[in-house]
């Protein structure tokens, strides 16, 4: 039997020698060009990092390809980032240019640093998950194709972080992204009552509902859904296979905007609803691509230097954001969940 509880490999074995030597002793960095960082340590040693966009879904051949490059240019060391980009760690400056050349030839995009869009954090979608309202990889590919130049150039007012989650579980943690793409359902789930009574824990299903839309029906040992109250989150489905929520006709995508995570300048913020629904239109989701493009472009055109999406919107006001982007404001934008009250406008200050 296998050893258990050994834990992950010790990171120390994975660090390139230049890092081991300068661990905790870096002094500053600069962005040499889009996708290339230069870190300088206290004793003057240098480390070049080349950041490469990745689709995240990699086959073993792709990984071996990356390993080959690392062997050739980085003494066999590399890392991945918290947004799933690949980082080649070049300690020998002379190898930088050849690596970039080779990446260019192999069509690996170099970028994602500074005031650019980085990789879209995303999720499984139809590739592997059982609850998605849309696919993840396809939308990400289509959107990144469209925004490609903003990955390889640092021409944005500030960093732009897009995330994508294929259902309300939000494994892509889209809730604090400059732009969030979120798969949503729009119809209350169908309950296979007989099956519920057999294979589901009814109290668990009832407790799962954020809006209290599920009543137990103890007589028939099943549950009933109050369709007026259901907000289609799918949490009951997660708890019970006898509940169906996926619907090819009515599932689709919502766009949230203006979130951020860093504490730089302004506190972290949630992303907020911009577009309640866009249709699922595979393979390239043109409506989603266009909507994201529009928001990014309006931001580029109006934001001040250094202003993240949410900082910009908070400065100009949400009423102006809707006006500038041409996105219609609807009753759906008005919160009616637990913490709704603090989102209401309790002042006469607003723009026309």
């Amino acid at each position: 039997m296998a050893k258990t509880d050994i834990g992950p490999p010790d990171y120390r074995q994975m660090l390139p020698p230049v890092v081991q030597r300068n661990y905790g002793r870096w002094r500053f960095h600069e962005i040499v060009r889009p996708g290339v960082l230069r870190h300088v340590s206290e004793n003057g040693e240098e480390l070049y990092t080349v950041r490469v966009g990745s689709p995240r879904l990699l086959d073993t051949d792709a990984i071996r390809e990356i390993c080959d490059l690392a062997d050739r240019y980085c003494d066999g060391y590399l890392r991945f980032t918290s947004r799933h980009n690949i980082e080649f760690l070049v300690s020998d400056q002379s190898k930088l240019e050849p690596l970039l050349q080779e990446l260019w030839k192999r069509e690996w995009p170099v970028g994602g640093t500074g005031n650019s869009i980085s990789n879209i954090v995303h999720t499984q979608g139809w590739i592997h998950c059982h609850t998605p309202a849309t696919d993840a990889s396809g939308i990400v590919k289509a959107v990144m194709d469209d925004l490609y130049d903003h990955f390889t150039h640092m021409d944005l007012p500030a960093k732009l972080r897009i995330s994508m989650a294929c259902c309300l579980n939000m494994c892509g943690a889209v809730h604090c992204s400059d732009i969030a793409i979120l798969g949503i359902h729009r119809k209350p789930p169908y309950v296979d009552k007989e099956l519920v009574s057999k294979i589901c824990e009814i109290p668990t299903v009832v407790a799962a509902c954020p809006t209290g839309a599920i009543r137990p029906n103890p007589k028939e040992k099943t549950v009933e859904i109050n369709e007026e109250r259901c907000m289609y989150c799918g949490n009951c489905y997660t708890m019970c296979p006898a509940i169906k929520i996926m619907n090819p006709e009515t599932d689709g995508v919502a766009i949230f905007v203006g979130g951020k995570v860093s504490n730089a300048r302004t506190a972290p913020m949630f992303s907020r609803l911009a577009i309640p629904f866009l249709p699922n239109n595979p393979p390239r989701w043109p409506e989603v691509v266009e909507a994201v493009h529009n928001i990014v472009q309006v931001w580029i055109d109006h934001a001040q230097k250094g202003e993240r999406m949410g900082e910009w919107i908070e400065r100009i006001g949400w009423e102006r954001f809707f006006q500038l982007t041409g996105i219609p404001f609807t009753e759906k934008h008005i919160d009616d969940f637990i913490f709704s009250v603090p989102t209401f406008r309790s002042t006469t200050m607003f723009r026309w």
């Binding site: 992950p8 010790d10 870190h39 086959d59 690392a70 939000m170 504490n263 393979p283």
Partner: protein, 397 residues
């Protein structure tokens, strides 16, 4: 193209961003499972609906988590993905690898699985995408033999992760990698054997830039910070000015507390230490001139999570400053108290943030023994509904 079996997905081979479809197609050549996955995905693109059955509960001996079970709902058409379970393999701290470690993984995965992976999952694990049930145990055995272990899943401690930190970042105020590794090792049992009301996530960032998004994505967020003054190299400041950086506008003007004054005559940047809230902005803009202070440690925040079910929470400050040095006893002890407090009180599937919201921050702080300080709140309560412990009322007469 006309008689391609995946006309829809083929569209996603176009464009400049690396194509996952190309990758899947390549994998399909070697692996029937990858081929069937591609075809099932094409069906999803056609029908606009997923084709995986609900749930699936599989695993390896001795562990309750680490494998996500998955079964196709069309095993008739896609027999090679009838069973298509994924492993969550615990990444090394900071996602650093040697090429030989990666190759080893690839070899194992070519042997037992679909050859497809995610580098990485959204929690930070290495995701090995798709293996049949019978391969799970042997695959795990071999992973383990080569020094890899599984990450978390289910109602357990989820795989902690950390930003690159001192390994390559001059801003790191704590040793994120070491801390992440230590916590992961310390709580192996909690990570592998679900025993709690729900998942618990820990993420560690070396400074307030929070490059692992810990404040939004972890039940316990550790963020490096400092207590003393930003370190200034006056010459380097002047050099930035000389190079044309608009220090007044871009730096001082955007300091959230107006803690900075720029004296252009003297080319001097003045920092009012007691006003600085350590947002990192000025340091980010002038990394050659400014550095975090010397008295370093971390701020701890609790409760961060996504939207389900009481809505998303950002982490809430519970410890403004804690020294973070090995063996991290203070933190590990606190973690144990927190786990315990939550485990004893939470309902099934109640994240700790939701529990604190339900029972009140007061109860939490009191029970885990953290003193209330104003740094915990953006502002005090606006309502008069606060509790008096009977003993207080007696003594206040």
């Amino acid at each position: 193209m006309a008689n391609s079996k995946t006309p829809r997905l083929d569209e996603l081979e176009k464009g400049r961003w690396p194509s996952f479809v190309k990758i899947m197609k390549r994998a399909a050549v070697k692996k029937p499972a990858a081929g069937d996955l591609l075809k099932q995905l094409e069906l999803s693109y056609e029908e606009k609906v997923g084709h995986w059955k609900h749930g699936g509960i599989v695993g390896v001996r001795g562990y309750g988590g680490g494998v996500i079970g998955r079964y196709s709902d069309r095993p008739d058409r896609f027999p090679n993905v009838k069973e298509f379970h994924t492993f969550r393999v615990n990444q090394p701290s900071g996602w650093f690898y040697t090429s030989s470690a990666l190759r080893q993984l690839c070899d194992i995965w070519d042997k037992y699985g679909s050859g497809l992976t995610n580098f990485h999952g959204a929690t930070g694990d290495i995701i090995l995408l798709g293996a049949p049930t019978e391969n799970l145990q042997p695959c795990f055995d071999e992973l383990s033999e080569h020094g890899f272990d599984l990450g978390g899943s289910g109602s357990d401690l989820r795989t902690p992760s950390a930003c690159v930190g001192p390994a390559r970042c001059e801003y790191a105020c704590v040793d994120t990698l070491d801390l992440c590794h230590t916590i992961t090792q310390e709580f192996q049992n909690e990570l592998h054997r679900p025993m709690w009301p729900y998942k618990f996530k820990i993420k560690i960032s070396g400074c307030p830039n929070d490059c692992v998004a810990s404040i939004a994505r972890s039940d316990l967020s550790v963020i490096g910070t400092w207590r003393d003054s930003i370190q200034v190299d006056p010459q380097a400041v002047a050099a930035y000015a000389d190079q044309g950086l608009d220090i007044q506008g871009e730096i001082c003007g955007k300091c959230p507390t107006r803690a900075l004054s720029w004296h252009p005559e003297r080319k001097e940047l003045e920092i009012r230490r007691e006003e600085c809230v350590r947002c990192m902005h000025c340091i980010n803009k002038m990394p050659k001139a400014l550095r975090p202070g010397r008295e370093r440690g971390a701020t701890l925040l609790i409760g961060g999570k996504a939207t389900m079910k009481e809505s998303a929470f950002l982490g809430w400050v519970i410890v403004p400053f804690m020294k973070m040095e090995p063996p991290y006893t203070e933190l590990l002890d606190l973690l144990r108290r927190i786990f315990n407090w939550w485990d004893e009180r939470a309902k099934n599937r109640e994240r700790i943030g939701e529990l604190i919201y339900r029972l009140g921050m007061r109860a939490f702080l009191h029970d885990v023994g953290l003193p209330p300080v104003p740094q915990m709140v953006a502002r005090p309560r606006a309502n008069p509904y606060y509790y008096w412990r009977p003993e207080e009322v007696r003594s206040n007469g």
